[in-house]
Structures are given as structure tokens and as C-alpha cells.
């Protein structure tokens, strides 16, 4: 541990640290553009120059390792002069169009020019101009502003795993470009906007949408996938303008997937802003009392076995808990939160969690992926797998269709019987898992949401036991969910009670007429044609599949419009906060259920969110601690059965449209057109 002095302060840091890292440790700020703690060191912007005693020249502190007895001055005349000089050079070819630049107000170059730059330049020649590049529908470019820090190049190559960006040419003619004007094909492409220290790469859908100081910032949780990415919702008045990532080292580090970032325009389209009741086959606008009256008229006196409820993928825990309470009060055990029919066992928590945790992936030594494409189901988690892969010595086996995952995989085939071979030790990959310290497997919904899902879960457990995936201090058995509400629903037991029907049973029953009332809580991913003649109550925020089939629509709140608890795929309980109010007459979801319960004469025993949460914590102790993962006890699940040879299919066919919000988003529609459908040729009259 070398000791050095920075601005007169003694500091002791690990031997491989750089001067810049040592300075951060003692709270000395060193300006920088190209250095980023999650990317490799480039050392090409020169903004971090500091004065080191006995060094003939100022040194780039981001790339200079510390040495014993070093004496560093970050505020000496020489350091200040070096910075001012670098800044002057950077500004020579920077257009200074801050008034029309989207980065204005949150621009590193702007801030650092104020802090370290001179108040005027000496450059009187013409500035250069660079052609803008086309990076697709999410990232706008203004390449004349680029200062060539290469953060975007390093991000695309290292984190996103799509080496498509590069710096061509040299000297004054250097340009950041994508290979042959192809688009940036990554589910994490939006992060280059956050990384860009200037306004060269900006958020295309948000272009000229607002200034950072006008926005109201709310810290929240993302629900577009089951990762539980920490986000910041920026809203102006009652409109969500943009979504940015927040740092959470154990979940998303500081990345955000494109759908989570850019689907927010879907929050203002296709919204249900008032109750509707179907009269003579047509949905007509109604008031809340009319909607409740229509439900009460239908439900009153109906035996519980004829009522069923299905919870969707974006539901907060509170509304599911309230609905479960109401269904129990009505005497119904027909509850399910597994719209896709996944064979998840709510009784054993270890059987449906990502037990290794997302940060734990970095400790694993081998990985087996079963029927899951993490790149589309959870891009953030996939980036974590890639991070582990880059360190080397990490064999990844995949059972399922062969798709590029941004790291090297070994495709073991696409047939469920390979699982039994691994479990019995006959397959070569079983040895790979056995011979390492911390092996892990990921079971995806592509494997569990099939008729033989329960049997596959059981075989996966056999593999976990046979190959030593579960041992002291390590649980390598992981289920990767695609729905933000799923783990929360399972934790609070939103599953069929004794004698109750699951999703398949409910749909069958509705078709046969055995079930007369189906309550859809934001459930849009089921086949609504199968609901037969049932009376359908749809509570949700978007006019999507469920609402089209509904007999009564109760307008609810989207995830940015309510305080709610969500449990991510690891079992981490996180709290989302309200950023804006629900539109029109829409209300927070648990209050709707609470009001309906009163109308049905089965009043639920809580009047405010605090009381509801207290009741929730009593019923499901997992919810007691926010942002803490309680390790689940291993075992107690798995029913052996016949595994069919049908090949796996990945659940996410189109990453950009998986839920009502992203289906209502114009940006996501554009992404679908460009990335999934291969970019339709534009005609002259387009757009």
C-alpha cells in the first residue's frame, strides 16, 4: 500500500490505484472527460493533468499509477495552466452552441469550462464541422460537438458487447463513427447518451423536450423487466419527460436498458382515464359509482368458485395484496399472477428466486442457461454476465435456440432431454459445472412456461443438487423472470388457494362457463379470446388486450403514478415513488380495490397505504425490509415428471414491445420497425 501526498494530504491506497483514484479518496476533485470508473482507461482527453513533484511534465492522473512517496499538486499554477490549456484546445473545435444543445445544463464540458477554463479563446480560424452519424431511433448525434473522449466506443465494446463504434481518421480529422453507417444494435444503447460528456450523443425521443432544471426528479423503480433497475423519473407538470438510471451497485450499476429508458412516451398514449361499462355490447363512459354498481350487480350472491382473478406483469405488491384480500373475502381461491402459466412453486421461495443475486454473477465460475435469452429478457443482467465473462475462465452453456448473447457461449442443443443428461452426469457439461467452485444455472420462462414446466423445474433442481450448485454460502440455482410483478405476487401468495384454479384452469373454466367473473388486474398477456362469456373486470392503465375484452374498466395508475413495492427477480423488495398523478379519473390501484370492496360489502381492513403495508408485512414477512435480499432456504420443491422433447422458445419475441406501456410507445414502435423488422424502406412521404 503506497503512501503519497495529494495537495498536502497524506493518503494510502492499493498499489494498482491511479493518482485520480487516490485523489477521489481524499475528496480532491480532478476534472476529467474520458475517464469513467466502469470503462477501461483511455487517457486521451488530458483534462486530468496534475503536477507531480520531480516529474518534468504534468501527468495524466487517470492513467498514472501511484508510487511510494509521490507528491501531487492538483491546484498548483502548473496544473491550473495545463488544464486551462487543454480546455482551450478542446474548445477550439467545439461549436459552443449551448443554447440549442440538449446537453445544456448537464454538460461536463460546460461545467468544467466554467471551473477550469479561460474566459476567452485565442482561436480565430474556422472551426471544423463533422457529418452527423445515424445511430438509430434512440440516439441523436451532433458530431461536431464531439471531443473524442471515446467513452461511447469503450462502452459499446466493453459493456454492451457490440463492437460497432470506433474512431476513424486521425488528428483533426478524427471522427467517432459506427461501421458503415449501421445502427447501434444493442439493448443498452441509450447509456451512451448518459456517458457522453458533451452534447454529441443525445436522447433522440427527448430532443428539445426540456431543460434539466425544469424537471421534477423522482427516484423510482423500473418495471419493464424483472431486474428492478433503479431509475430516476424526470417529469414536467404531469408528463414523464424521460427516465434515467440511478446507481445501485448490486442491481444495475449505472446502466439502464433501452426499453426502460425510452418507453416512457407510452405513458401518455392509449391511457384509460375514466371508468367504462359495457352496455349493449359497447363500452360506454361511466362514473366510478356506475362501474362499481355494475360489478356489484354481477358479483353479489355469486359463489366464490365462480370468481377468478389474474394479476398482470406490472402490478405493484399492494394492489395484488388488496385484490387477494378481496378475493379471499368473496370466497374465491382462483387467483394467479403467472399469466404465462409458468410452473413456479410459490411455496418454496428458493425455487423462484435468482438466488445467486445479480452481483453474485461476478463470483460465479460456470453458467448453464436453460430456455432463457437474458439479452432480451434482462439486458442489465446480461451485461453483468458479460462483465464476468470478460474476466475469463467462465464457460457458458446454453440450452435453447442459438442467439448472440454478447459473450461466447457453448450451445448444448435445444432439447429438454439434455437436462436429464446433465442431471445424470452423462453430459460433458455436468463435469464443467462440478469442477468449479461456484457454478450457477439460470432457468428462464421459456423453459417454465410450458406444459412440462414443472418437470423441467424439477430436473433443474436435480442438476443443482447433482452438480453442487448449492453449498455453504453459495446458491447457484436461479430463475430469471420477465415480469416485474412476478416475484412479489409469489411472495404474497397470489396463486391458487386450496382447490383453486390457475391461469389455465381459469381460462378453461371461463370458456366452459364454470367461471362467471374474471378480474384482470393489469393482465394483458393472456389469450382474451379464451375468456368465453365471462364477465370481465379490467383494472389497468392502458387500453390494451385486457381492456378491449372488458365488461367494466377501472382506470388504474401506471408505475410512475403510484407509490408501490416491487420485488425483483433476486427477491429484493424495492420502493417506487409517485412522479406524477394518474390521468383523469384514474386512481392508485389499491384504492380502487379498497373502494370496490366496500361497494361489495366486504370492506378491506385498511384505509391508507401505511395500514395496507403493515397488513402486507404481517402476511408476507419478505416485505419487511426494503432493498435487502433475504436468502431463501434451499429445497422443498420439484415434482418429477415427463419432460417432452419440444424445443425451447424464448419468451421475448420482440424486446421493444412486451407490455401495455411499451406497446403504446411510439419510440418503441420505431425501434421495432428498425431493429426487429429490419428497417422498412422509407418513402418520400414518410414522417
Amino acid at each position: 500500500m503506497p503512501k503519497l501526498t495529494i495537495d498536502g494530504m497524506a493518503v494510502e491506497v492499493p498499489a494498482n490505484a491511479t493518482i485520480l483514484q487516490a485523489a477521489e479518496q481524499v475528496g480532491v476533485e480532478i476534472p476529467r472527460f474520458c475517464y469513467h470508473e466502469r470503462l477501461s482507461i483511455a487517457g486521451n482527453c488530458r483534462m486530468c493533468l496534475v503536477d507531480v513533484e520531480k516529474s518534468p511534465k504534468p501527468v495524466a492522473s487517470c492513467a498514472m499509477p501511484v508510487a511510494e512517496g509521490m507528491v501531487v499538486h492538483t491546484r498548483s499554477d502548473r496544473a491550473n495552466k495545463a488544464r486551462a490549456g487543454v480546455m482551450e484546445f478542446l474548445l477550439i473545435n467545439h461549436p459552443l452552441d449551448c443554447p440549442i444543445c440538449d446537453q445544456g445544463g448537464e454538460c461536463d464540458l460546460q461545467d468544467q469550462a466554467m471551473a477550469y477554463g479561460a474566459d476567452r479563446g485565442r482561436f480565430h480560424e474556422n472551426k471544423r464541422a463533422v457529418k452527423d452519424k445515424e445511430l438509430g431511433p434512440l440516439v441523436a448525434t451532433s458530431m461536431t460537438r464531439c471531443i473524442h473522449c471515446t467513452r461511447c466506443v469503450r462502452f459499446a465494446t466493453e459493456v454492451a458487447g457490440v463492437p460497432e463504434l470506433g474512431a476513424v481518421g486521425r488528428g483533426e480529422n478524427m471522427e467517432i463513427t459506427n461501421y458503415l453507417e449501421n445502427m447501434l444494435t444493442s439493448e443498452l444503447s441509450g447509456n451512451v447518451v448518459d456517458l457522453c460528456p458533451v452534447g454529441a450523443l443525445t436522447n433522440k425521443p427527448y430532443a428539445f423536450g426540456g431543460r434539466p432544471w425544469e424537471l421534477r426528479k423522482t427516484e423510482s423503480i423500473d418495471v419493464m423487466d424483472a431486474v428492478g433497475t433503479n431509475i430516476r423519473v424526470d417529469a414536467r407538470e404531469q408528463k414523464v419527460m424521460r427516465v434515467l438510471p440511478r446507481i445501485h451497485e448490486d442491481v444495475n450499476e449505472e446502466w439502464l436498458a433501452d426499453k426502460s429508458r425510452q418507453a416512457c412516451d407510452g405513458l401518455s398514449n392509449q391511457r384509460l382515464d375514466r371508468p367504462y361499462v359495457r352496455k349493449n355490447g359497447k363500452l360506454t363512459e361511466a362514473t366510478w359509482p356506475e362501474a362499481f354498481a355494475a360489478i356489484t350487480a354481477k358479483v353479489r350472491g355469486l359463489p366464490g368458485s365462480k370468481i377468478a382473478a389474474i394479476a398482470g406483469d406490472l402490478c405493484d405488491a399492494e394492489s395484488m395484496f388488496a385484490l387477494k384480500g378481496l378475493m379471499t373475502a368473496l370466497g374465491s381461491a382462483n387467483l394467479d399472477c403467472r399469466q404465462d402459466g409458468a410452473a413456479l412453486d410459490a411455496l418454496s421461495r428458493a425455487s423462484y428466486l435468482f438466488n445467486s443475486t445479480i452481483a453474485g454473477i461476478e463470483q460465479a465460475d460456470a453458467l448453464l442457461i436453460i430456455g432463457s435469452n437474458p439479452r432480451t429478457e434482462a439486458p442489465i443482467l446480461n451485461a453483468r454476465i458479460r462483465k464476468r465473462f470478460l474476466r475469463g475462465g467462465f464457460p457458458v452453456g446454453v440450452i435453447g435456440p442459438d442467439v448472440p448473447l454478447t459473450y461466447k457461449t457453448q450451445n448444448l442443443g435445444n432439447s429438454a432431454d439434455i437436462l436429464s443428461q446433465i442431471a445424470s452426469g452423462a453430459h460433458a457439461f455436468a463435469a464443467t459445472l462440478k469442477n468449479v467452485k461456484k457454478p450457477m444455472l439460470i432457468v428462464g420462462q421459456g423453459a417454465l412456461a410450458r406444459a412440462d414446466g414443472a418437470a423441467i423445474l424439477s430436473v433443474a433442481r436435480e442438476i443443482a443438487d447433482a452438480c453442487g450448485l448449492v453449498k455453504d454460502g453459495w446458491n447457484g440455482f436461479n430463475v430469471l423472470h420477465t415480469a416485474a410483478a412476478r416475484v412479489g405476487g409469489l411472495d404474497l401468495g397470489f396463486v391458487p388457494g386450496t382447490g383453486g384454479k390457475d391461469v389455465r384452469g381459469i381460462l378453461d373454466g371461463a370458456g366452459k362457463g364454470e367461471i362467471e367473473v374474471v378480474y384482470l388486474l393489469g393482465a394483458d398477456e393472456i389469450d382474451t379470446n379464451k375468456l368465453g362469456k365471462a364477465f370481465v373486470i379490467y383494472q389497468g392503465h392502458h387500453g390494451d388486450r385486457g381492456a378491449h375484452r372488458a365488461d367494466v374498466i377501472l382506470p388504474g395508475a401506471a408505475y410512475t403514478e403510484k407509490d408501490g413495492l416491487y420485488v425483483n427477480t433476486e427477491g429484493r423488495v424495492q420502493q417506487a415513488l409517485r412522479a406524477v398523478f394518474p390521468p383523469g379519473q384514474a386512481r392508485e390501484d389499491w384504492t380502487i380495490v379498497r373502494a370496490l370492496s366496500e361497494s361489495l360489502g366486504k370492506t378491506l381492513p385498511y384505509d391508507n397505504l401505511a395500514q395496507l403495508r403493515a397488513a402486507l408485512r404481517d402476511a408476507a414477512p419478505e416485505f419487511v425490509k426494503i432493498d435487502v435480499i433475504q436468502a431463501a432456504t434451499w429445497g422443498g420443491f420439484g415434482k418429477a415428471g415427463q419432460v417432452s422433447a419440444t424445443p425451447f422458445e424464448y419468451p421475448v419475441k420482440n424486446y421493444y414491445m412486451t407490455d401495455p406501456i411499451s406497446r403504446a410507445s411510439r419510440t418503441m414502435a420505431r425501434c421495432t420497425e428498425e431493429f426487429v423488422m429490419g428497417g422498412a424502406k422509407k418513402t418520400g412521404t414518410d414522417g
Binding site: E164, G166, R170, E172, L180
Partner: protein, 231 residues
């Protein structure tokens, strides 16, 4: 000016011929496994020697050979101006027009090319036999002006010698490279004017004490002159 772009019209495919493939394999073998990317510059050079210029299919083929993304190869190809990104003539003339050569008459060399071939900087003759570009300092200032034709340097050029060279290339000859006025490498054009002493004899000893005394005296005189009141 912006970064050099790849030519608009590109051939459909690229593959090394047997000769260059053997050379390429030899270069790749120099580097340990996982470090093949180090061979990118020689391979781009071989591709250019084979095709005359670096084509897009060549960039992609080299990327595939070295397990590199195509953009990484493109970065290298666009960085080094010695890689031609668009077709050049069979005889590719690169005239240095940097300061030393300009002072010594590179304008005449360019004019000779214009007159004999009708080529301006960056042009190629319709029959693809000749092309001409201006280059930055070729590193042979002592023999300025200089032009690189193929792999060879032709030095001490003027209008007449350039025209003669072009005629020779037109006839399909391979003129002798080096100085056009018969200099031996970079040796003086006439007789040597420095280092003419016999190097085998010892250097005469200098009287350092006398030199120092003379210097001190001159210094004291100068000081006295400066200190004297102005008349």
C-alpha cells in the same frame, strides 16, 4: 476535410491469393494466441499490395481472420494514410509537398505530372495506369524534392527529370531510384565542404587557458563600456 471515407464503389469480395495468404499466416504466427490482432497492419499492407488498395471486403475479411470487429480494422486503415482507401493507378506517384520539398521545387514536380499525365493531386488517369497524390513530409528532406513511386524514392527531382521518369514508367521500364542528379545517397552534390580533415590524425590540442583569458577580457571590456556614463 474530414476523415477519409471508403470508396463508394466496392468489389463484391476479397480473398488473399496463395502467395499473400502464406505471408499472412506467417505474420499471424508471430503473435501468441489471442493477440492475432497485432498482425492487422501487415495484413492490410498485403491486401493493398494484392488489390492495389484496401477494399471494404478486405477490411471485413481481415477482421474475420484476426477475430477483430470490422470497425477496429477500419480504424487502423483510416489512421494510416499509406493505406489507399480508393483505387490507385498501376503507377502510384506520391509527391511530397511539405516545406522542404516545396522550397526546393516540388511545385515543378507537380506541374510535370499535370503536363505529362493531366493529373492533379488525388487524380487517376482514365486507363488506371497512373495516379497522383500529395503527401506530407516523406522524411527525405535532404534530397528534396522527392516523390515516392511504388515502393521507391526518387529524389532531387525537377521538371525535366520528373517528365523523364514518367516517360520511362509509361514505357513499362523500371527506372533506377535514388537521386536524379547522381548524388551518393545524401552526400553533398559537389565536393565535401566539412569534415575534410584526415580522420586518422589526432585533433590539435587547443590552448584552453588562453581562450578563457581572451573571453574574460572581452567580457570585462563590454561591462566597462556598459557602465561608462553616456557622453
Amino acid at each position: 476535410m474530414s476523415a477519409r471515407d471508403l470508396a463508394k464503389e466496392q468489389p463484391a469480395s476479397f480473398a488473399f491469393n496463395a502467395e499473400y495468404l502464406a505471408l499472412a499466416k506467417k505474420v499471424i504466427a508471430k503473435y501468441p494466441a489471442g493477440r492475432q490482432a497485432s498482425a492487422v497492419i501487415p495484413l492490410l499492407d498485403y491486401a493493398q499490395r494484392q488489390e492495389g488498395w484496401v477494399t471494404r471486403p478486405a477490411i471485413e475479411a481481415i477482421g474475420a481472420m484476426l477475430d477483430m470487429a470490422a470497425i477496429r480494422v477500419l480504424e487502423v486503415a483510416t489512421f494510416y494514410t499509406m493505406f489507399n482507401l480508393s483505387p490507385v493507378g498501376k503507377t502510384h506517384i506520391q509527391v511530397c509537398t511539405s516545406l522542404s520539398c516545396a522550397l526546393r521545387g516540388s511545385g515543378e514536380v507537380m506541374k510535370a505530372c499535370k503536363d505529362k499525365l493531366g493529373l492533379g493531386a488525388g487524380d487517376i488517369t482514365p486507363d488506371k495506369a497512373f495516379s497522383l497524390i500529395e503527401v506530407e513530409c516523406a522524411g527525405a528532406c535532404v534530397n528534396a524534392p522527392v516523390a515516392q513511386i511504388g515502393d521507391d524514392y526518387f529524389e532531387d527531382l525537377d521538371y525535366a527529370s520528373t517528365a523523364k521518369l514518367i516517360d520511362a514508367f509509361k514505357r513499362g521500364e523500371k527506372p533506377k531510384h535514388g537521386s536524379m542528379i547522381g548524388r551518393d545517397a545524401s552526400a553533398p552534390a559537389g565536393e565535401a565542404i566539412t569534415l575534410t580533415e584526415d580522420p586518422t590524425k589526432p585533433i590539435p590540442k587547443q590552448d584552453l587557458a588562453a581562450a578563457k583569458a581572451a573571453f574574460e577580457k572581452a567580457k570585462a571590456e563590454a561591462a566597462a563600456k556598459a557602465a561608462a556614463p553616456k557622453a
